[in-house]
Symmetry: C2
Subunit: 232 residues, 2 copies
């Protein structure tokens, strides 16, 4: 693990406050690995052996049932995934595959649970992280159940705009077909949804989306803190 990577990881809220000894104990048994694109990292139903920390690339979390598949999330550096399964020592609920070349630190689950029980600051950080994740999924459920697919797209665009710093130009960070699946729709329908949003000043050119009439779009999307703000 490179020093800059270690510093980035140390800065994550999950690891920030913990004692140096705990941090060292946790990363002593860590594996750092580079994966090519489109590699299945974990499989739904398998026992959970590692907490994963992304330091490079991007990973898709997805779930399947009866031949159907849906994108649950995409993960980018620097962040962790599948904390809940690690803590409960339970099987993965989602599968994960790399989208691009990715660099990932693997922390043995047993070590995570061990340090959890000895370092109260780490314990507190894990609880915070879990509560945040839980609330994130609840917001996602509200988004799915209370909004149409066009409304979900509109709010997605506003959310990305807010987090980016390109003003009214937004860069889609995933392929459109993956975005469609994430938003709970088909690629065909996503295409048509973008067309509908033209009426609210949305212009699409490949992965570059320009929001020309922010007021119109906001007025249509009606974003709200308790669904769209991932910091609350």
């Amino acid at each position: 693990m490179k020093p800059t990577e270690e510093a980035d990881i140390r800065a994550l809220s999950l690891f920030k406050g913990m004692a140096d000894e705990s941090f060292d104990a946790l990363f002593r048994g860590a594996y750092v690995q580079n994966f090519p694109p489109m590699i299945e990292l974990i499989t739904e139903g398998d026992p959970c052996d590692f907490l994963h920390v992304m330091v490079g690339g991007s990973v898709e979390l997805y779930a399947s049932w009866n031949g159907r598949e849906t994108t649950m999330a995409t993960v980018r550096p620097v962040s962790t995934f599948i904390l809940a399964a690690t803590i409960r020592d339970a099987p993965y609920l989602m599968s994960a595959r790399t989208i691009e070349k990715s660099r990932i630190v693997l922390l043995p689950s047993t070590d995570v649970r061990e340090v959890f029980s000895t370092d109260p600051v780490f314990a507190r950080a894990i609880v915070d992280e879990l509560a945040k994740c839980y609330r994130g999924v609840i917001k996602n459920t509200k988004n799915l159940k209370l909004r149409t697919s066009i409304e979900r797209l509109a709010n997605y665009l506003l959310r990305v705009r807010k987090f980016g710093d390109n003003g009214d130009t937004v860069h889609l960070s995933m392929e459109k077909r993956r975005l469609a699946s994430y938003l709970g729709m088909t690629p065909e329908n996503l295409s048509r949804a973008f067309k509908t949003l033209q009426g609210y000043g949305v212009e699409v050119d490949g992965a570059r989306v320009t929001i020309n009439k922010i007021d119109d779009l906001t007025n249509f999307a009606k974003p709200e803190v308790l669904i769209d703000d991932f910091t609350v």
Copy 2:
């Protein structure tokens, strides 16, 4: 609080292992209240002042946006709700209203956070509970995104059957319109979905549902551990 109630609460996995002093400290500041039906207990967006512990009746958790409303869950004794907001000291993401006359113990959030930081067993129990809740919501998301409404109903019936002890007769524990909303459909459509399931041996008489051909229904519903089993 009656002694039997206290014993029931103490038996919850969240409170089971903790030190007696911690338990006492936690419940010293508790309020016990009886509420009539259809009372709004908490409102989406309000700051979170109490962890709620149900000891009698039933409560509906729901969420609203732009004039629409959806049922997120129904809570029955003995269990807690809105743990995540309590831990993070964040605003409620859902509203709650009593469905029937209900008896609820209110634990001040500050006390919960206080005891959390002093009792490691309680801390561990909270993490377990949060991880379980998180995984529950993920399963629910998979259910919503991967299945049609009829498939969701079929699996719901199988789940209730498994947890009850009435053999192939199942008692719907909530009104049909609420069940419909919980499953992400309209009451009209729930009615029609039941009719479709007649073809798989499902008979409905008010809140009493009989599953006559369990193999047929199972074959159609294709239940799976990673979506439908709430213990994993």
